[in-house]
Assembly symmetry: C2
Homo-oligomer: 172 residues x 2
């Protein structure tokens, strides 16, 4: 399976997908969060073909998500700061799966605060003052990095963004 490049899309989500938008890639990152470091550990955990794993690890290192140790012995792969910053995404995806695709025997994993052992909050969207925002309460505002429509036809559909009173500009 060839990884598709979405780098021509002028969209930050598409940029992110160009790095992590592939099944195995996110599961490798998950395993790195769980402390796996070596090729054989990832391979055993995921049951993935060695050439596919090799390719995905290489891409993650190139993208700066994983750092590969270059010393003697087996190389180790560790999350960089950029990789660690994926955690809210992974936890939000895990919580969504817990809610909508649950295990019949109960919760699989609970993420807890190390300090007091209490479960973390569901990852959500908050206003500047901390209020929780629901999807319809959020609007997308185009910035200088967004190319004009016509100039770049495959960008985010501008006609859907902040037109007039916010009718179709709502992110809903």
């Amino acid at each position: 399976m060839k990884l598709k490049s979405f780098e021509h899309f002028n969209c930050s989500l598409a940029q992110t997908l160009s790095v992590i938008g592939e099944h195995w890639t996110l599961l490798i990152v998950r395993d790195a969060f769980f402390g796996l470091r070596r090729f054989d550990q990832f391979q055993k955990s995921l049951g993935i073909a060695r050439n596919v794993l090799s390719d995905r690890l290489k891409k993650l290192v190139q993208a700066g998500v994983l750092d590969k140790s270059e010393g003697p012995g087996h190389p180790e792969y560790r999350l960089t700061e950029k990789g660690l910053a994926l955690q809210p995404i992974l936890i939000a995806m895990t919580q969504w799966g817990d809610t909508y695709l649950p295990s019949p025997t109960g919760r699989r994993l609970t993420f807890v605060d190390r300090r007091d052992g209490k479960a973390i909050r569901p990852v959500g969207v908050q206003a500047a003052d901390g209020r929780s925002l629901r999807p319809r309460e959020i609007r997308a505002r185009p910035g200088p990095g967004l190319r004009h429509k016509g100039q770049f036809d495959r960008s985010v559909p501008l006609e859907a963004i902040e037109r007039g009173g916010g009718g179709s500009g709502d992110v809903r």
Copy 2:
């Protein structure tokens, strides 16, 4: 490109990936958030092959992420509650792309609170009392839905979860 099934993985993240873990799928969901409804709108926005789009839309409807209208005229696809609940994931992915894969000409989109026009906060992980948690401050605790190792070799690596003082049980 065949969509890989990760349903045999006993992991909520893998379950989520089985629904949305493919490039086009998440970009279709993004466009639905921006108000696109019809096949031709998605096709024009994404420049995607019609048979691929058709397949992905069908899968999203089957998964309960999109609802397909069955009236006269062109069918319309709308996000269900389950689909709307993907928003924190999409926004977190967009913010990660803004930070680590930015456009050279500035921010592409800013998500703002409809009420006051102020930018939303970065999506992050919070403790029960609202404190922001960094990756090393979070631990994963196995629940009843997690099968035992040995019984199911491809589950989340149990050896990495909450062993003793939290050393390798940290999600980091």
